[in-house]
């Protein structure tokens, strides 16, 4: 609880004080709630964000709260369990506009709790297996990240490039294994350092057509570099808007992912729009060729999603729902312990967001 209060004070105190004394430009408050739900797993995230502008400076802060609920079901041994976890994340960024075409941003973020649902499941597996040993201790995942970026409007209003650099450190929930020589269980690696960079370029080609290219690179402790490329196109024709996106990500020795999406938006009234989209994703699996591990096998997923937006200019509301299905390849005999974690599921996604500008 103390960590949570410290995070809230750290993130919201500076912009709140600044808002009272020197924010004379546009300010915006946004609240967003998202749900990802299947029969036995549910994730709920609530986020609030604030931004304020004063002259060449923009300050942005956000806090998000995530709740995880999972029905743990072992395959070979162990007992069923209802798992619940909560995670808080906060971030703060400061942007300085140097001239008409260049601005720079510094970012900091921190979180306390599990970053995703799979680690909660595998941690319960290790707790049931090794929890009676004196040497076992429960996980305490948390982390923080720093980032910097430079925005270059090389053709103001029509052409833009963003260069990002980031560093993050994660104290993770480790995997456990029994050391027969020492006669006790021992944890695996308990922290990860990640260095990442990206270049994003956007170009307006015509008053109705725009394209964007995103190149990413990331290096995490004891892993090979992960590289990605994604291309997005958007066009409008009267009340209709269209967007398509495709991308590839690769990491040695064998991780390859491809994905694509398409979206149609219809402005059916001056302040109202509706959208409908479809997206698909496929990767070759994170799992190693042999040996016991908790990595995911190959997955194919697809989602149909749609929603409504109402935008008055200062006040905006949007809501959407999606139907997402995931299809994993079967696990090997060595890794069947996690068969209920990596089973095929039908998910419901839900999103509701509101923003107010003043």
């Amino acid at each position: 609880m103390i960590k949570i209060v410290q995070l809230l004070l750290f993130v919201f105190a500076p912009p709140a004080m600044a808002a009272d004394y020197w924010f004379s430009g546009t300010q915006e408050i946004t609240g967003t709630g998202e749900i990802l739900s299947a029969d036995d797993i549910e994730i709920r995230t609530y986020q609030t964000r604030y931004s304020g502008i004063e002259g060449p400076w923009t300050v942005e802060a956000g806090v998000s709260w995530s709740e995880y609920g999972e029905d743990y079901a072992p395959i070979v041994s162990g007992e069923d369990a209802k798992l619940t976890e909560e995670t808080i994340q906060a971030d703060l960024s400061i942007t300085r506009k140097w001239n008409e075409s260049i601005s720079g941003t510094l970012r900091f973020s921190a979180y306390d709790g599990f970053a995703e649902y799979r680690s909660i499941w595998t941690s319960e597996y290790y707790r049931q297996f090794f929890g009676d040993f004196e040497d076992y201790y429960p996980p305490d995942p948390h982390g923080h990240a720093f980032g910097a970026s430079v925005d270059w409007d090389y053709l103001p209003g029509t052409g833009k490039a963003v260069f990002n650099f980031g560093y993050s450190r994660d104290e993770i929930a480790p995997g456990w294994s029994f050391n027969p020589e020492a006669g006790r269980p021992e944890p695996g690696r308990e922290n990860l350092n990640t260095v990442s960079g990206s270049v994003q370029a956007e170009q307006v080609l015509a008053p109705w057509l725009k394209t964007g290219l995103n190149l990413t690179a990331r290096k995490t402790t004891e892993r090979s570099g992960r590289y990605g490329v994604a291309n997005t196109w958007a066009a409008s024709a009267g009340p209709l808007g269209f967007q398509i996106n495709a991308g590839y990500t690769g990491e040695s020795p064998s991780f390859n992912a491809v994905y694509a999406s398409g979206l149609v938006e219809w402005n059916f009234l001056p302040q109202w729009s509706a959208y409908l989209g479809y997206r698909a994703y496929q990767d070759g699996g994170e799992i190693e060729a042999s040996g016991f591990n908790a990595l995911a096998p190959a997955i194919e997923s697809r989602e149909v999603f749609g929603g409504l937006r109402w935008d008055r200019g200062d006040l905006a509301l949007s809501g959407g729902v999606g139907f997402l299905s995931t299809d994993y390849e079967p696990l090997s005999e060595e890794n069947e312990f996690f068969g209920n974690l990596y089973k095929d599921r039908d998910w419901l996604t839900f999103r509701l967001s509101a923003s107010y500008r003043f």
Binding site: A115, A173, T194
Partner: protein, 69 residues
Amino acid sequence: MRKLFLLPLLAAVTACQPVGIADQARLSRPIFEFAGSGTRTYETSLSSQLETGRASSSNAAAGGCSSCH
């Protein structure tokens, strides 16, 4: 799929068309924001927990199984 290869050709044909101030309103629609957030985005960010190869899963905190490495 072959139609996708026509996109660069389309770009070449339409490139360098002037974009005036009046066009900025059309280009400010959310459909033209490739990194939109809040009310100006279309998809939930939570799907990155399943699809770890997406570009949006760009940091360890946002995706990937931290105990699975």
